[in-house]
């Protein structure tokens, strides 16, 4: 469709006219609230009296009296029903209260099951009772045991269905894919722990149940479960410890192997494999000790007996401050150039070179000494130790780390995710390779793409090690021969990862930094700091960070911005703002009604002409003050609101916060998505408001709440996402690299519970 110029102008004019037709917002009223209403409280009737009797009987534990009161309540409801009058609504909760007075705790559960069968139960009461039933240790244990089973079924099902579904378009590959998938599943079954996380959770719940109800009839069913599961848990602990011990032994970490094999033996005493590992580690430790012994053993006779005089001379020269070790070392070498002590003199020469600042020559000499025969030389092991010490030979450590990083990048380009080797499944080496060979071939095919992406690729973990080595070297030898190279590498590394603060630090420390580059880096570093500050959730810390931006980078644009932010936030944030949004108020009329805020109804009638509440709603800003936000004169809700402040009486504030709490928690019970967030300062303010103490002290910054109560529609819109009740997802799969196309149902595994981290 084409639109002529004249038509376009006409449409634009019409739009402008419609915009201009928006009803302007009316002026806010003098007060947004009606004066407090008075009520006529009806005198107590028989239902009230019965409720009191029941509550009293339940509180003092008089089951018979509670039963009588409940019967009376039941009769009252029957009469009301027969006379077609409204019910009291107290029957369900009365039954629950009677049940709660039962001396036998398990009876309460059974009675609650019966109560939940009633169809006339209040939804809030139903939700609460269901929650209680679900939180029973036995129920929880059974749920987790079922989860564990479902996970295994889902894995087995998916292992079979997924390869078949993926091969719809390439059916000739189906046998291969199916074989691979089933083999993977077999490996999973072979290597999985003797007990799943969910089963461990079930064990804890079963044990708690037995602890709480040792005499319950269900105990006879639970006890054998506990015994079996506990045995499997012990084996899982043994396996874990043993795995670490074996790996430690492979890596030469003898002490670690000893600790973990001991731990495995504590779980399963006399375990054969754990004993073997422990014995092997112990034997290796004895070897280490023997080697150490060589360094600390000393003869009993005169150490200089039978030695050339030059030996004593060198020892004295090294110990005395006025000694001349250069001369003494030369004399020793000349005395016996091929003798057993010649390497001592070479070691001394190297040390003296280092003291004279000739570090490169010193390390070269030590390297040569380190490469000599350890059996024939006393000083070889000392030289080797020094040369390989990353805290002393920092240049070599950096050079080695850089070389390793280059090698890692090369491997990554070639092998992709397999650059660190194949995943350890606990299988014998060749089998591991067999499993991954096809995937490895596929990834090698992707090498050209990775090569193209290399300049933008994320740094590999070995780059961090190199960066640390570079920093160490620059700290030890900032003006040494290799420093420029280390600095340039570090600067490039920091720039690539966007750490301008680190890049600036590297450039600043250089011997001749480029001023213009430093200025650019400084601005970027300041913005980086500012960005971190704005993300800091703690107000006091955030303000401190804003201040530091100005102190560390004075004169920068970011410092000016930080100053502005600090001022604005100090004005805004030092004021409490517990906001009841308009959406929340619209959904909860009890709060806006005469028993709550007493908000004028016209403020929520959708007509801006008689003033309208802005979506910001009503805000409790501390003390007894509330801020009411109205739609501005433009009548447009998106424009900033017009605000007025009003003071509530102690009594009304206490009632409002009580209502907000009661209503929001009730909503949460009925709809889990309508969650009330955790906010300690809000609760503290509410508590003080209920006690009539809201206005007595000025809150500190940490005590200020900025919580917002929002309506459900405001949060989630009209249509909310709901999880399917079916345990399957339908997956459509396509891959260019393997030229496959398919569709298959994937069985969903039950989600882990939030406390799963306490079982890992």
């Amino acid at each position: 469709m084409t639109v002529s110029r004249a038509e376009a102008i006409g449409l634009a004019l019409l739009a402008a006219l419609l915009g201009g037709c928006q009803t302007p917002g009316g002026a806010p009223p003098d007060s947004a609230f009606h004066p407090a209403a008075t009520y006529r409280v009806p005198p107590p009737d028989v239902a009230d009296q019965t409720a009191v009797d029941l509550a009293r009987a339940a509180l003092v534990g008089n089951e018979a009296e509670a039963e009588r009161a409940l019967r009376r309540m039941n009769a009252i409801e029957t009469v009301l029903d027969a006379t077609e009058e409204k019910p009291t609504g107290m029957l369900g909760v009365s039954i629950d209260l009677r049940n709660a007075a039962f001396a036998d705790r398990r009876s309460y559960r059974r009675a609650t099951d019966t109560l939940l069968d009633r169809r006339d139960l209040d939804p809030v009461l139903r939700a609460r009772l269901e929650q209680f039933q679900d939180a029973d240790p036995l129920e929880l244990a059974d749920d987790r045991a079922r989860d564990s089973l479902m996970i295994e079924i889902a894995r087995a099902f998916n292992a079979f269905v997924e390869p078949v579904g993926k091969s719809l378009a390439t059916s000739q590959l189906a046998p291969y894919r199916l074989g691979q998938s089933l083999a993977r599943y077999a490996v999973h079954v072979y290597t999985r722990e003797p007990i799943s996380l969910q089963r461990r959770q079930a064990l804890v719940h079963w044990k708690e149940f037995l602890k709480r109800h040792p005499d319950a009839p269900e105990a006879t069913r639970v006890e054998p479960e506990v015994d079996t599961t506990e045995q499997r848990l012990v084996l899982a602990h043994r396996d874990r410890a043993l795995r670490v011990a074996e790996k430690a032994l492979d890596l030469g970490k003898t002490r670690l192997a000893l600790v973990y094999s001991d731990r495995a033996l504590r779980w399963v005493p006399e375990d054969r494999r754990a004993t073997e590992v422990r014995d092997e580690a112990a034997a290796r430790l004895i070897e280490i000790r023997d080697a150490q012994q060589r360094s600390i053993q000393a003869g009993t006779g005169d150490p200089f007996h039978g030695q050339p005089e030059a030996v004593r001379e060198l020892a004295v020269a090294l110990l005395l401050p006025q000694g001349d070790p250069t001369h003494a070392a030369r004399r020793l070498r000349e005395a016996d150039p091929k003798g057993p002590l010649a390497d001592e003199s070479r070691f001394v020469d190297a040390m003296l070179l280092g003291e004279a600042g000739e570090t490169t020559e010193m390390w070269q000499q030590l390297e040569r000494l380190a490469d000599s025969d350890g059996d024939a030389s006393n000083m070889q092991r000392h030289a080797e130790r020094l040369f390989n010490d990353p805290n002393r030979n920092t240049w070599q450590a950096f050079a080695d780390a850089r070389a390793r990083n280059r090698w890692d990048r090369f491997k990554w380009v070639l092998l992709g995710p397999f650059s660190d080797g194949i995943p350890d499944r606990g299988l014998p080496g060749p089998l591991e390779w067999v499993f991954d060979a096809p995937a490895l071939a596929e990834h090698i095919g992707g090498a050209p793409m990775r090569l193209i992406n290399l300049p933008w690729a994320k740094a590999l973990p070995s780059a961090r090690v190199t960066a640390t080595a570079a920093r160490n070297h620059l700290a030890r030898d900032p003006r040494g021969p290799g420093s420029d190279s280390a600095r340039a590498w570090l600067e490039r590394y920091e720039k690539n990862r966007g750490n301008w603060i680190g890049a600036l630090r590297a450039v600043e420390a250089g011997p001749d930094p480029d001023i213009s580059e430093m200025a650019t880096l400084r601005e970027r570093a300041a913005y980086q700091y500012l960005d971190a500050a704005t993300r800091e959730p703690n107000f006091a810390l955030r303000m401190g960070m804003y201040k530091q931006v100005g102190q560390i980078y004075p004169g920068s644009a970011a410092a000016r911005q930080a100053g502005r932010l600090a001022r604005d936030e100090a004005d805004e944030v030092t004021v409490q703002a517990i906001r009841l949004s308009r959406g929340f108020l619209e959904e909860n009329e009890e709060i806006t009604g005469p028993r709550g805020l007493g908000l004028r109804p016209e403020l929520l009638d959708g007509n801006p002409a008689n003033a309208e509440l802005h979506p910001d709603g009503v805000t409790l800003v501390g003390s007894q003050i509330v801020r009411v936000s109205f739609v501005g004169p433009s009548g447009d809700e998106d424009d900033p609101p017009e605000r007025t402040h009003e003071i509530l009486s102690d009594e009304q504030l206490g009632r409002v916060v009580s209502l907000v709490e009661e209503v929001s928690y009730r909503n949460m019970l009925l709809d889990p998505l309508d969650e009330v967030g955790v906010d300690a300062p809000r609760d503290y303010y509410f508590e003080r408001a209920r006690l009539g103490l809201a206005g007595t002290t000025k809150p500190r910054s940490g005590e200020i709440s900025q919580y917002t109560y929002q309506g459900v529609r405001e949060r989630y819109g009209m249509v909310r996402h709901r999880e399917s009740i079916l345990p399957f997802d339908l997956v459509f799969h396509g891959s260019l690299s393997t030229l496959s196309l398919g569709a298959f149902p994937r069985m969903r595994e039950p989600k882990e519970t939030p406390d799963a981290f306490l079982y890992r």
């Binding site: 409720a51 009191v52 009293r56 909760v93 705790r105 209680f132 150490q292 009661e662």
Partner: protein, 316 residues
């Protein structure tokens, strides 16, 4: 009857069958809300809060604290209606039951006395509960916590007089426990006895560098705490505290006797390391307990500390 009339009649019957139950009379809403809160509280009054963590209500808060807050909210929202329905007595009594479980014994006693005054039928049970709460408050008045002692007149260094104080408080609480055997107050008394024992151990840990054989005494007191309260919900915490004491002693030992020095005794250090790591391991291996995380992280940190010590001074 003609067909349309019959259809209309069927429709009316169908609609009547589908209609939901009528809305309850709003005048009973305050009483209904109070009954609901009391039902939740009543279910948890007999809970053994010495052995098990206090229950949480649907808001995720401690059920006793939540009850208290909700009752206060209801008094604010429906104060007049509750008074008119003569519910003051039961509300005050319920507040007493909630307050005693959050250690506000004096306020609980006040609430019980108010309940006794407002509702003669509750009076015998309310007065008895008030007496127990006053006994608990009296025992609690014997300040034993380090903060309380410091607030009063500083932490005394006379261990014997402090010991007498702990014994006296324990004795008073034991009396309450015996007198209330079989009721929920027994658990409350047990919790207070445990707090007294914990405060006693805490005192000796704090004084261990002042008192003679202070380390040994502190360890003995913590071991006593662990042994006496094996079934407590805080049993893991007590073990952690003992482990932390051994850890502190090990660190102090290394500070006082650097491993490279001649005075360093590898055997003694080994004993400290073994005790500490064994205790941490005990807690770290307990599934589902929050202390497990603390224990495992502390164990890692402690092993990192042990790695500082030269190999020839410490083998593992």
């Amino acid at each position: 009857m003609r067909l349309p009339t019959r259809l209309a009649a069927l429709l009316v019957i169908g609609l009547a069958a589908c209609a939901s139950s009528p809305e309850p009379d709003p005048r009973y809403r305050p009483a209904e809300n109070v009954l609901e809160v009391i039902a939740v509280l009543r279910r948890h009054v007999p809970d053994d809060t010495y052995r098990f963590e206090p229950a949480q209500d649907f808001t995720g808060r401690n059920v006793y604290r939540s009850t208290l807050l909700r009752l206060e909210s209801m008094e604010h929202i429906h104060g007049e209606s509750l008074r008119a329905a003569q519910m003051d007595g039961v509300v005050a009594f319920a507040k007493g039951r909630a307050l005693e479980r959050v250690r506000a014994y004096d306020l609980a006693a006040d609430a019980y006395l108010l309940a006794a005054e407002s509702d003669p039928e509750l009076a015998p049970e309310a007065r008895q509960s008030a007496d127990i709460c006053l006994s608990l408050e009296a025992a609690r008045g014997l300040a034993v916590g380090l903060d309380d002692l410091a607030d009063q007149s500083g932490v005394p260094t006379d261990a014997e007089s402090m010991l007498a104080r702990y014994e006296e408080r324990s004795r008073q609480l034991e009396d309450v426990r015996h007198a209330t055997r079989g009721s929920h107050f027994e658990f409350v008394a047990e919790e207070e006895i445990e707090r007294t024992d914990a405060a006693r151990a805490e005192y000796f840990v704090a004084m261990r560098q002042i008192l003679p054989s202070g380390d040994v005494r502190a360890a003995a007191e913590l071991e006593r705490l662990v042994t006496r309260h094996r079934t407590s919900k805080y049993a893991n915490r007590h073990v952690l505290e003992l482990a932390q004491l051994y850890e502190a002693i090990a660190v102090e030992y290394v500070d006082a006797h650097p491993p490279e020095s001649i005075s360093f005794d590898p055997i003694r250090f080994q004993e400290l390391i073994d005790s500490t790591s064994r205790l941490y391991e005990v807690v770290a291996s307990q599934d589902g307990k929050p202390e497990r995380l603390e224990a495992s992280r502390r164990l890692e940190a402690f092993l990192a500390f042990a790695l500082r010590v030269d190999r020839d001074r410490f083998t593992r």
